[in-house]
Amino acid sequence: MKQTDLCEYSDNDLISAVREGKIEAFDQIVRRYESKVLGVLYGMMRNSDDARDVAQDVFVKAYKSVDKFRGDSKLYTWLYRITVNMAIDYMRKKQKKAKVEYNDEVKISDDNPAVPVDRINPSKTVQNKELRTKLQEAIEQLPEEQKSTFVLREMQDMSYQEIADVMNCSVGTVMSRLFYARKKVRDMIKPYLEGVS
């Protein structure tokens, strides 16, 4: 099976091939979805090394539990679910650790941004460095479930139903989590919101 052939496989065909032990089929799944998974993780975590590590773990876990994937949900929904669960798990463990240890995590600065700044081409509003930093801080401080919901909506533009499927909750819960998340972020960046609509 060549990579070029695999590009044309549907998600379900790839999953079947993985179940038959074809590791290259899973490689194709990784290449197809790594940007989405990385996007969510970079949105949830300020440390890019953490995001990369968790992204790898997400796919390794998906590979190992491929038998648990049932065709009744979309592959990306399933991958997002693993992503969100692992990210929440990771952040909780890290918070716990940070409470008992000196937190020597590299502080995000312009020299060491969560995402290489040269790759980002922010438009006028977010060019404001202070606003960007405040925004990152605000997102970071959200409770994990609110943070995940917020990122899935604002980063991936998912519908409430899709988010509910990923987060295993009701559409109403998605709506209220989003409201409280946005309100908290608003409270932290309020001074910068003048003139933004």
Binding site: I23, F26, D27, V30, R31, E34, S35, L38, G39, Y42, G43, R52, A55, Q56, F59, V60, Y63, V115, P116, R119, I120, N121, P122, S123, T125, V126, L131, R132, L135, Q136, I139, F150, V151, R153, E154, M155, S159, Y160, V171, M175, S176, L178, F179, R182, K183, V185, R186, I189, K190, Y192, L193, V196, S197
Partner: protein, 171 residues
């Protein structure tokens, strides 16, 4: 704040995301028209969403240039780590460098006992290889054979000594 405000505010996210029913939209718009507080919050939340989406769009672009596929592939190809207690493939363990490395590493890091027929000190030679290993609840036993001197070496490790890492790092 109007005492009804909260019940309308909770709908604001759904309103901006187009997730409300027509009836909910109507009620919310009616309330906001007469409530400056809710109208201001609605405008703020829209602004928050706009700013966040701009920031996230930069993040999305940034991750386009990043791939973890090779690292993942390498991890999938890794053989499962086989704990010391399990029977394992002989060919790796028969290599002289393996036993020499284990001997050197363990001699430094772990407490162990040598049992030799002679009771004398013994230097592990390059020709030493592992013949067998057994693990029990109380500890591990490794049997080495040194073909140069035709000596059998039996190492005992107490259960308190964590052996699993040494097996992983060498393989």
């Amino acid at each position: 704040m109007n005492k009804n405000c909260e019940q309308f505010q909770i709908l604001l996210s759904g309103y901006m995301d187009g997730e409300l029913s027509a009836e909910q939209v109507k009620q919310l718009e009616q309330h906001s028209a007469s409530c400056p507080e809710c109208a201001e919050l609605a405008a703020d939340l829209k602004a928050v969403s706009a700013v966040t989406r701009e920031y996230f769009s930069g993040v999305r672009q940034a991750v386009q240039g990043i791939s973890i596929a090779d690292e993942v592939y390498a991890r999938l190809e890794e053989p499962a780590v086989i704990p010391m207690a399990q029977p394992r493939s002989r060919n790796v363990f028969m290599k002289p460098w393996f036993s020499a490395a284990v001997a050197a590493g363990l001699a430094i890091f772990f407490g162990f006992y040598f049992f030799f027929p002679s009771g004398k000190d013994y230097n592990v030679s390059q020709n030493t290889c592992v013949v067998d290993s057994v693990e029990t609840r109380k500890g591990s036993v490794m049997v080495f054979k040194d073909s140069a001197t035709d000596t059998t070496i039996i190492w005992l490790f107490s259960a308190a000594t964590d052996m699993t890492n040494s097996g992983e790092s060498v393989s």
